[in-house]
Symmetry: D2
Amino acid sequence: MSSIYGKNIKVTIFGQSHSKAIGVSIEGLPAGIKIDMEELEAFMQRRAPGQGPFTTQRKESDRPEILSGLVDNVTCGAPVAAIIRNKDTRPGDYDQIRDVPRPSHADYTANIKFGGFHDYSGGGHFSGRLTAPLCIAGGLCLQLLRQKNIHIGAHIASIGNVSDTSFDPAGAEPADIELPKSKPFPVIDDARGEQMLAAINEARLAGDSLGGVIECAVVGVPAGIGDPIFDGMENCIALAVFGIPAVKGIEFGSGFAGSSLRGSANNDPFIVEENRIKTKTNNHGGILGGITTGMPVIFRVAIKPTPSIGVEQDSISYLSMENVKLSIKGRHDPCIVPRAIPCVEAAAAIAVLDRLLESSKY
Amino acid sequence: MSSIYGKNIKVTIFGQSHSKAIGVSIEGLPAGIKIDMEELEAFMQRRAPGQGPFTTQRKESDRPEILSGLVDNVTCGAPVAAIIRNKDTRPGDYDQIRDVPRPSHADYTANIKFGGFHDYSGGGHFSGRLTAPLCIAGGLCLQLLRQKNIHIGAHIASIGNVSDTSFDPAGAEPADIELPKSKPFPVIDDARGEQMLAAINEARLAGDSLGGVIECAVVGVPAGIGDPIFDGMENCIALAVFGIPAVKGIEFGSGFAGSSLRGSANNDPFIVEENRIKTKTNNHGGILGGITTGMPVIFRVAIKPTPSIGVEQDSISYLSMENVKLSIKGRHDPCIVPRAIPCVEAAAAIAVLDRLLESSKY
Amino acid sequence: MSSIYGKNIKVTIFGQSHSKAIGVSIEGLPAGIKIDMEELEAFMQRRAPGQGPFTTQRKESDRPEILSGLVDNVTCGAPVAAIIRNKDTRPGDYDQIRDVPRPSHADYTANIKFGGFHDYSGGGHFSGRLTAPLCIAGGLCLQLLRQKNIHIGAHIASIGNVSDTSFDPAGAEPADIELPKSKPFPVIDDARGEQMLAAINEARLAGDSLGGVIECAVVGVPAGIGDPIFDGMENCIALAVFGIPAVKGIEFGSGFAGSSLRGSANNDPFIVEENRIKTKTNNHGGILGGITTGMPVIFRVAIKPTPSIGVEQDSISYLSMENVKLSIKGRHDPCIVPRAIPCVEAAAAIAVLDRLLESSKY
Amino acid sequence: MSSIYGKNIKVTIFGQSHSKAIGVSIEGLPAGIKIDMEELEAFMQRRAPGQGPFTTQRKESDRPEILSGLVDNVTCGAPVAAIIRNKDTRPGDYDQIRDVPRPSHADYTANIKFGGFHDYSGGGHFSGRLTAPLCIAGGLCLQLLRQKNIHIGAHIASIGNVSDTSFDPAGAEPADIELPKSKPFPVIDDARGEQMLAAINEARLAGDSLGGVIECAVVGVPAGIGDPIFDGMENCIALAVFGIPAVKGIEFGSGFAGSSLRGSANNDPFIVEENRIKTKTNNHGGILGGITTGMPVIFRVAIKPTPSIGVEQDSISYLSMENVKLSIKGRHDPCIVPRAIPCVEAAAAIAVLDRLLESSKY
């Protein structure tokens, strides 16, 4: 099994980069929830390609067609299924990689895993394009969560060596984390954003690419969500987020930096404020023992630089079993971090809703 | 659900820090595999408490009693179940935390999650003690993997601000990663180890604690293990590793550092050596598209400093709903990183064997 | 969760009777398997409505559109997704049941389960129409199984009080169980079939309906498939078969009749024939301890009479909370048993392939 | 996977007939539920061997030792784990079956499944003894259900050719279905019970065995429990019940008999009584579309005659690959139906509680 996520909701993703369509079925959504289709499409647009210098020029409307599960845009309890037709496909672009795998791509591993029968065009089922159905599911979950006053928002924490400012770990409000969504380039500090764009352009002109870090916050999640050991909030968010191609790391709260501190510096004291229990600081990232504390859930995700680059690289030929040179044709993002932002929000939304539904039983 | 891991094998963990016993059932192990019980016990000893200045003085033999699943130490296809009796229990030590949750512990979240009915003694089901059954399962998986020439080994990458040298990402051999296991303090560079021990002692004398980073390598895993999207090797290892208390982050290959590089610097060129396909470098950490490349799988885990410290901290009282001062009695590790090493190996072994069994079907 | 089946393959079904489309995603099919699309469509036709006096006159071509997972009709390892557009929908036919639930239908339970938000048209997600995507998945599994020389076939064992002859439990050959598939009315003894058709017509003219029993055989399955306790072949086939609406019972081998015998009469002696171990009789239905013996797997399924009938019935009105009379309009099968035959074959194929892939690991 | 059941609760069973111990872990039970240990032990006694002429003379106290999950007999949210030590083991009794499989037993299939490495003593993991941990889990679930006024009770519907009277499908009250539990021989009509006992004794004296049918009712389950298609109440109960060795069939409501009726005779009209919606009859067995209607859930289970019999049978020798004669030594039940009653109640309780916890989310 591979393309199904969740226990209380089940998100089943299907499709390849150049198959007839890509799509998703989401099972377990409560019935009677009104879905705002315009909002869903606006969310999809944040991930869609073809907008601005830092993305592939492949043109896809990415408007989901809902096949089932909604009656007059209200969930009816049946699985919500939606598809997106692949339009602007150019399989021809990929004949080359049939014999010569692209470095740091899944071409080679897919070829081994599926005995050479994998759909190699555009990365097939491994393509970043598969994050579109992920975003359909996540976009729906985000709407359900917001109806419970749970907000999820992400921004670009860094690209190359340029860093954005961070969310306030202990004090972030819904408005703070919703703000970057409204921007064409989702950062907190627009001046830093300009520097990031410059760095991306520089890389692009050099036929190269850049990676970065995404910071995501979940605000308004009640205390007590998640389970011990293997169904903890960290396990579940990590499981979902690593479903996004190019993700190579995740840390919660003070994460790796916190691991170099002493306990007295990293611990978060409990305090009572207005008869509510909170923590003074939030190095724990809103999660203790796998369960939410009611503080913002904060995590950061490492996105590797786009492996598809124009500059010549070393690779091999399956046929000749010799080393060959490769320069990748086709249309690629010099930096996929901006488009990965809604994907991270989507993955987090799916994980949080899944755990939220686990609670309050019997 | 919370304490069950896996799809092809199922590891079910049960017990609390001060319950009659803790234990595990491992289902799906192939039949006919000879288990070396002495080796399993030696592995358990690496995690066991009560050895040396950096660990709790709680005394537990931690010798697993196998209840089923083995006939003359050979797997018979039935679930392998094992338990460890809790002997040196001192529930009295924990009366205090019934009303006053320990900062950065699961006391508070467990209390909310289970409506005050949780077993608070020693952290109950959330205790690090539950990594003992995890290690029983992992120890068995390690033996099965080694019979397939797959080796898993970890070392302390850093404690506080002292760093060990790293495994050679592209060239690590079984002997290299098995070496630290033979040492009382599992590092590559013993001089650095001395400095780490000094830092731990310093913290201990100050009634404080330290965290650190663990690096783990899987050598000999064939290419083609793992699945796209949600059952990728990264997803599965992360899911298992976050089952270890105090883990707050994980990164594969070049991880967070790699996300600041350009594609041309982070990509790993394919090369043909002795008619085998390899990569020149290993920034991808042995995993592309969720599937192993045949290169060593390398990942690092962030361990937060032990939250239980002697120095006075701020917390609250459930009863009075007022801020109170807390200094923790009881026996605790000033640094759990050394004892977490076999736990990380165990979690990785469970995840790798589970994915390995997924392959080669039909 | 509700509409996903399997562990080694995952079949995800979505859609409602009158939604835009119904469909399925099948995950875990081995890569490199050639699919015969004509054969799949021929299989779908056996379930399709609008053929002959005993079926609803609703017209649906039921030709599946493959969206992904196949490249030149060969499985590529990615999920195989397919949809069928709903064309001949007449929601108007169902306004009545919004307020008045049809006796022995899911109208009432769906209304309670989903708080009145369920899609009531034609039974929504509970409709027999959802067996079309089940048959897409099952049709694919049947082809994979046949490539392993495993054949699955079913026939009408009885309708009303008319019984067909049975498969030879211990001696059924592939040809024997494939035969009924070739007939418009799938029985072994055509004379009995004529009597069954007469009984169906009689019921139809009376505005009434009939049920029946289906016998299904799996021939060629090797010994050793299935697992003890909860993943036994019986558990898994039952779980899948009860996914077909109107199924109310299942029995394996001598089943209920065998439970009245003595052990000496019901036991199946082992014998050696041509150096192969077999059983002389097959009261065990090819399964012992949940695991196949290599003898034909034989089971019978009870199908209740179609609940939708023209004759006036007693029901209630949600609005008035009073007893009311109901005579059902719309187009319905006086007997769904013939169309249920491929559904039972499909469910069995999914279960058998899922267990088959469980075996041969490590 | 094989010995784990459930989605909202997870029941993990381990052990073999002659292993050190057998046991179970139950995960997902709500916290704060008081468990009556005496009641649990009384329930276990109904399954325990060594009582009366119709059971094996093997002596086992079958008193479960709770290892974890309870604090002062109250669930704490952690998995409840319990074991039973195997005391009266006589592996010697089974040397014979190492080479000669017992007809209609799992000896042969286990041998193939596990390549000859299975634990053959007493049937190993396939033994009826494994229903003891099933009953521990089920006994706990029964207590939780009863605290929600849901009662589950079963009785012997028939043994050989002697039938008991049936529960009133539409009118059964808790007292009606609890009654048989209080009897040493659980029937409704004691006169019929005497005839059944006579038939069992007759078979026993002939060195033979008998099977039978068990009828089980669930009273008080609210309407709306269960899910469409694969998580229906029928699917889930069947999946659990086929986990009991010797079960070969299951039917709900009018079942196989109902399949020969016309719709007008089998349909259950809805009626309003005291402003509550009910059905006049209950041929649907309390389940429509996989979801409970609020009427009693009624099902019958076919139990095959005990395959272990004293009379000489034909079997084969693995070593000589020749036909041989076999008469089984050891201690066996001439009829396991009476002891299977609490097992069926247990399986039903696990399935019902699992589905009950699925509902009421978000």
